[in-house]
Subunit: 130 residues, 2 copies
Amino acid sequence: MTKTNTSSSLARVSELLQVISPEPRLEILLAIGTGEACVCHLEAILGYRQAYISQQLMALREAGLLDSRRDGKYNFYRLAKTGIFELLQNAAQIAEANLIKREPAMHKKQCACPHCAPAFSNSILVEPTH
Amino acid sequence: MTKTNTSSSLARVSELLQVISPEPRLEILLAIGTGEACVCHLEAILGYRQAYISQQLMALREAGLLDSRRDGKYNFYRLAKTGIFELLQNAAQIAEANLIKREPAMHKKQCACPHCAPAFSNSILVEPTH
DNA sequence: ACATTATATTCGGAATTAGGAATATGATAT
DNA sequence: ATATCATATTCCTAATTCCGAATATAATGT
């Protein structure tokens, strides 16, 4: 007895598609890729204001698409489900668009976070100034 | 030199996802399945008003997702791209929903269209009353 | 304690969208 | 020509979403 179309299943699919579809959210998902990214990072890469990025991340997180991990000042976001890339690939194909990258995002523009400036972060080489 | 993320590619993917995401449109896409359906049909199956169905069909058609074929009074709609079902399957999986059928939709509720009442439509058995 | 940096949240008005009512169009039948 | 049925379209407003500004919180440094 396989489950058939229930309104709640439809609603969940609808919600998923709605929540990822705004262009800035697609940009964020692609920027995160298979890696992780902090807010300042996405701010630097994508050029949106911090509060705006944060809002979009919240929406994606509440939808269960992103997980976050705090590391000191930084809050790193990553995809909660891998299937998202297949979905985007599929959508791109239908839309006749080639746009999907799934690398962990080597960042051209930089912020001060550990990922952008690894030499200066969490490093045992940097001694406390006590 | 493979094409990279252009804003227009992103925009197309965004538009695609947006246009299919409303629940009534998902219902319509699933109801059409791999077959075709006229408006009165979808009206009967889904219970939305005619004008509303028509509006949603227009939106999907303008987005290039549906083709239509006129047959007398009836206007039959079918999916313009097959990939749509893979997309929906994918979305359902991520949303932890099982809902996708891709049969040509055997209709429980009926309207007077050739597909619902095949015995009375276009049939050589029904002679004109001249 | 105070400053600074990273991030989150709240508020509100502008812009957009949803969807109902009414009506128009197009095909067929009489 | 008129009626009827299937479908499309226009109009309008309530509801929603977008996104900026301002502010709050949380961690770290000095």
